[in-house]
Symmetry: C2
Subunit: 293 residues, 2 copies
């Protein structure tokens, strides 16, 4: 893969109040900016260029390290609500008053919380491999289907993602190898890289998952007030955040299209990056008040 904006654009630091947020912005075009919110332990360097580059052709894409992740200062909040406050502080500091959002996994939960806290901020939302508050079986890394991968000494570095983000079929594992190769290629960027997330980041984010599973009152009722047209995306064999959570999002959000990919897991957007970016671009480009595109 040739040098490209997502891998060459310098990391910038935005100071807001007492915080410093690391981010990268690249791409241009007539559309609203697209904020990307990252998964568990992911940094700026974990975004797949096969997803970010095509999306950046028609709009500015903004990658962002939440507090305590990568080179952003502070401690990682132990609640999604805390992460949502940082995301809003970052957007306010940047002067972005309205944008679209792509939230993957933990990032999707942050997107949902931000949309509740400030309904005017997102015009269109893409929620990939994520769950509503009160969702089920969210990131239980201790269950055997997942813990066996963490116990496997052959799965160092990005290699574990071939198991966590993909299905065990031959075709999905081939896509997994291509995904890791793209991340490794990006990793040839030897300078200006984020430090990988350590155990403290992981522990705080896991606490946030546990808190997100709790709910009060009528389950999923909070989704009814989230009005932006939304595209919910998942792989049908997601072991980290099961697809049933995406079903619940589509059933309770008032204006959400659900797109489920076969033969894939948590990282279906990376496995089917050509389809995903085509669908995402079509969805984001629609001016309809309705989500279908």
């Amino acid at each position: 893969m040739p040098d490209s904006l997502s891998t060459t654009e310098p990391t910038q630091i935005l100071a807001v109040n007492d915080h410093r947020y690391a981010y990268r912005r690249f791409g241009r075009g007539p559309r609203r900016p697209l904020l990307l919110l990252q998964h568990f332990t992911g940094t700026l360097d974990n975004w797949d260029p096969a997803v970010t580059e095509p999306l950046a052709r028609e709009r500015e894409v903004i990658l962002f390290d939440n507090a305590g992740v990568g080179r952003s200062s502070g401690k990682v909040p132990t609640t999604v609500a805390g992460m949502a406050r940082h995301a809003l502080a970052f957007l306010d500091g940047l002067g972005v008053t309205t944008c679209d959002v792509l939230g993957f996994s933990l990032g999707g939960m942050v997107a949902l919380q931000v949309a509740q806290d400030r309904p005017s901020i997102f015009r269109r939302m893409i929620l990939a491999g994520t769950a509503p508050r009160g969702g089920e079986d969210i990131m239980h890394l201790e269950k055997p289907a997942l813990s066996r991968h963490f116990a496997d000494p052959k799965l160092q570095g990005y290699a574990i993602l071939t198991k966590l983000f993909f299905a065990p079929t031959e075709s999905s594992q081939a896509a997994a190898q291509a995904f890791v190769a793209r991340l490794m290629q990006s990793a040839q960027r030897r300078e200006d890289r984020d430090p990988p997330a350590g155990p403290e980041v992981a522990a705080a984010q896991m606490a946030a998952f546990r808190e997100w599973e709790q709910f009060q009152g009528e389950r999923f009722a909070d989704l009814r007030g989230i009005r932006p047209p939304t595209l919910v995306v998942n792989g049908v064999h997601d072991e980290m955040i099961p697809v049933s959570n995406s079903y619940r999002l589509a059933e309770h959000l008032p204006n959400a299209v659900l797109l489920v990919y076969p033969d894939s897991g948590h990282g279906s957007l990376f496995q089917f990056h050509e389809s995903f970016t085509r669908q995402a671009a079509a969805f984001l480009s629609s001016e309809s008040p309705f989500a279908p595109y």
Copy 2:
């Protein structure tokens, strides 16, 4: 709507063995023909031109009355398997050895059965508002959510479809009125119309639904052998064949994308006909061995 192919193309009769099948074919283009398989009690005159016309721009579309429906001879089979045999006899008689299929509701079940009986026949499948064998809560017209509409004297003719095929929201009901207006416009075709289906057709098709709910051995295991790339479509508030059946299709078919529309019911493809025909055309035009498009 001006005169158009779907409403002006004459009905043809194909004689195969002792049977006569009524059908219409229209449209042209570089793609494989698309066979359309119809819903409970639907005839050739029940297809929405807002769905059939755009699809006919790149391919020939073939509408077909199964045995005992409309002007096709014989008795309506009381099993989906019987309907599948007639569909295959029709395609054989027409000399179509391979095509794509759009099966809506009952038609989707027939498509699934045909794909099992002759794996070579369908290259790509679209299954809208339907259910696998062993699915749940299939067309229980006796349940209060549906029976109240049949008991409503204000819902004569096509009007009942505004309740059966759409959600009760203002936006879905507006789409329902537009759908009925399109069918009424088509009904200005005063000659060459199918007779509406009577109680005998309904009774036989209801028997087929009851038989389709039964399963032997491992539930949904039969879906694993259905290999063509498939697009499963449903409205999230389908009361006739709940969306959970579409979830099961996507989970057990090996190569199926699931697309679920918000704010809509059984007839989501009619409510969101612009989106549906755009998505369907993109899916059908893909040459990938994988369903994502």
